[in-house]
């Protein structure tokens, strides 16, 4: 589950990470009020930041033609006007796809006097099975680009889960980031706060990009998390009701939300051959084999190892809501589950939905003869596949001849 920037900053700030002063709002009037308050307290530049789960906001374009989802202003009136232009409209960035995301909330914050931009993240190192703190002097850039171009500019420290991020490790990273004098201590504290956010929230990623060295109005150097991103481990949400409550359904595809209600794992893709499969690995492999034979998968759909009749019916309904779908491939390896139960579920679902599209079914496993017989006797115009390859070729051919 992904969080918004404002939610990420709340969690970080609660653990001692300095973030720009400001607030969150969902109306132009509230935006103006926050801006006025910040200006009254000495801010001279105000950032207005669209809250969507996608990067590239600054260079994005709204469906109204308004340019920029993150902008800087000097007056409260300009902030109010920008808020009116952003709120309720759809922002398209390089990461959102052409459909974009609707902006429902804005961060209004004091823009700092930035001296230097750094990068900090905590994530899981799968090979080590440990969290790593990753930092770079190349802040404000795409870290993957830095990793590809100048990997020597990235420092990594693995953390022992029993110890947490030790102060010496944090100081080592602070020094590697070029911090000097009392900023080393401040930086180390901030890094420990970032790590604690990762661990305590069961995050899969905490990223601060950029982490800025700023010049305060008192003329001192300080550190501030100017942008922040947090992704949470879905498996751990059960023990964080407060974090679960931060889920924004407006950021998720409606069909994927619908599927999750039936414990179905559905991910929409842009092809035209829908698939319905049991097991995540087999579901991925089914998409792959469709592509191998020249077709394009419309979705990933795992009905799970023990799919029920109800789940199969729900799966069909979800698949059919995708207007791009021109044919369906069902691929079931029923190890323990009874293929005949699945076949009965398929027949019922096809009749219930009044399916008109070509349907290819490949059943294998437990009680497969009875399952195939159920399909054959259903009177439905479905095609049987003998193997994955056979089924994939048949469904690709069905689309090609339409």
């Amino acid at each position: 589950m992904n969080l918004h920037e404002y939610q990420a900053k709340e969690l970080l700030a609660a653990r001692g990470v300095n973030v720009p002063p400001g607030g969150v709002c969902d109306s132009p009037a509230a935006a103006r009020a926050i801006a006025e308050d910040l200006l009254a307290h000495g801010a001279n530049l105000i950032a207005v930041k669209s809250q969507i789960h996608a990067g590239g906001r600054g260079k994005g374009t709204f469906n109204t033609g308004y340019q920029g989802g993150v902008k800087l202003f000097k007056t409260a009136a300009e902030v109010e006007a920008a808020a009116a232009a952003m709120l309720g409209n759809v922002l398209v960035t390089k990461q959102t796809g052409p459909e974009g995301r609707r902006v429902r909330k804005l961060i209004i914050a004091a823009a700092p006097n930035i001296q230097k931009e750094l990068y900090v993240a905590v994530l899981l190192d799968r090979s080590l099975a440990r969290p790593v703190l990753m930092a770079s002097t190349e802040g404000g850039m795409d870290i993957e680009e830095v990793a590809a171009r100048s990997p020597e500019k990235i420092v990594k420290v693995a953390v022992d889960p029993a110890l947490g991020l030790m102060p010496y490790q944090a100081r080592k990273v602070a020094v590697a980031l070029g911090l000097r004098g009392e900023l080393i201590g401040h930086g180390a504290k901030l890094l420990q706060g970032v790590y604690r956010t990762w661990w305590e929230c069961d995050a899969s990623l905490v990223e601060i990009n950029p982490l800025c060295v700023i010049l305060t109005r008192e003329g001192k150097l300080a550190l501030q998390a100017v942008d922040a991103k947090i992704a949470l481990d879905d498996n751990a949400l059960f023990r964080h009701p407060d974090l679960h409550a931060m889920r924004d359904l407006g950021e998720e595809a409606p069909l994927e939300i619908e599927a999750s209600k039936f414990n179905l794992n559905y991910i929409k893709l842009d092809g035209n051959i829908a698939c319905l499969v049991n097991g995540a690995g087999l579901a991925m492999a089914t998409m792959d084999i469709i592509q191998h034979y020249g077709g394009r998968p419309a979705n990933f759909l795992d009905v799970g190892g023990g799919a029920t009749r109800e789940q199969v019916a729900a799966a069909f309904k979800i698949i059919l809501q995708d207007p791009n779908v021109q044919a369906i491939l069902v691929n079931i390896f029923g190890g323990i589950m009874d293929c005949n139960v699945i076949a009965t579920g398929i027949v019922a679902a096809v009749k219930e939905t009044g399916l008109k599209l070509p349907l290819v079914v490949r059943l294998e496993g437990n009680n497969v003869q009875a399952g195939n017989q159920t399909l054959a006797q259903s009177g439905l115009p479905l095609v049987r596949g003998d193997s994955m390859a056979d089924a994939a070729q048949k469904v690709v051919a069905a689309v090609a001849t339409r």
Partner: protein, 296 residues
């Protein structure tokens, strides 16, 4: 021979009184596996299906029955604790079937496993099958949730992150009259007990395993690590398949660990690593068995 388990292995089931654990304990018993104990705290002294004694703790079950391996069917919130209870009791092998364990729990488990003798398989896996000699491979050791009857006793080792793709590969072999030494599902989570490489090394040392099918998927670098080792050390023919070539980046494909992030863990990179290591890559999941058999 086989790896990890054989028909004599004495197995206990943690969570045997749950619906899921009970159903699969029953199937393992029907397969001829030595299920010698169940563990459910608070239900010690009862018996499962009138034949398997239930204990309150793993330590007691081990002491009373001589079990050396465990199948964990405990809900996600309690699974890490159940795994470590098995480690503490000195089991040789813990196989965790549970899906949905928080990643940080597994990070802690991995740290706690260091220096202990217990090998962990899983979590989020179908488990292990060493097929038996009987009809439909009856009499083998089945720990977990794989269908036993699709197996056949023989000399091919299968290792995979995915359950149903394992079954697919096993069934392809069995349909061609080729049996398996042991089939191991290592699980689809980002942090797991044993890697592809761990299992490949066991197969390489097992005189009864003559060829290996290794099935991977997008996410992480475990397949690449295994491939690098195979290139230098593996004495046996290996065929491979990687699922997820068509998966969009940044999305988790069902398994918690199946995600391409930051351009890392792509199917293309893994297939490249396989080819560089001399592993025969199946062009489609329908050809996993044939790809291996062409090498043998």
């Amino acid at each position: 021979m086989s790896i990890l388990v054989n028909s004599q292995t004495r197995v206990l089931v943690q969570g045997i009184t749950g619906e899921f654990g009970g159903r699969h304990a029953r199937l393992s018993l029907a397969y001829g596996t030595q299920i010698v104990a169940g563990v459910t705290p608070g239900k010690g002294g009862q018996t499962f299906d009138g034949q398997v004694p239930i204990f309150d703790t793993v330590a007691e079950a081990v002491r009373e029955t001589g079990a050396t391996a465990s199948a964990v069917f405990v809900p996600p919130a309690f699974a890490a604790d159940a795994i470590l209870e098995g480690v503490d009791a000195g089991l040789d092998l813990v196989v965790c079937i549970t899906e949905g364990i928080p990643v940080n729990d597994m990070v802690k488990v991995k740290a706690a496993l260091a220096g202990r003798k217990t090998r962990l398989i899983g979590p989020n896996c179908p488990g292990i099958v060493t097929p038996g000699e009987g009809p439909d491979s009856h009499g083998g050791c089945r720990i977990g949730i794989a269908p036993g009857y699709i197996h056949r006793k023989g000399h091919i080792g299968v290792v995979s992150r995915s359950g149903t793709l394992t079954y697919e590969a096993v069934w392809q072999l069995t349909c061609r009259g080729v049996g398996q030494s042991t089939c191991v599902g290592i699980g689809g989570d980002p942090v797991n007990g044993s890697s592809h490489l761990d299992i490949i090394q066991l197969f390489n040392d097992d005189p009864d395993t003559h060829g290996i099918i290794m099935i991977g998927e997008i996410g992480g670098a475990a397949e690449e690590e295994a491939a690098a080792w195979i290139r230098r050390h593996c004495k046996k023919p290996v065929a491979g398949f990687i699922a997820g070539a068509t998966a969009p980046p940044g999305r988790r494909m069902g398994h918690a660990g199946a995600i391409v992030s930051g351009g890392k863990g792509t199917a293309a990179a893994k297939i490249e690593a396989f080819k560089a290591a001399g592993i025969a890559v199946a062009p489609t999941p329908s050809e996993m068995a044939d790809t291996l058999l062409r090498l043998m």
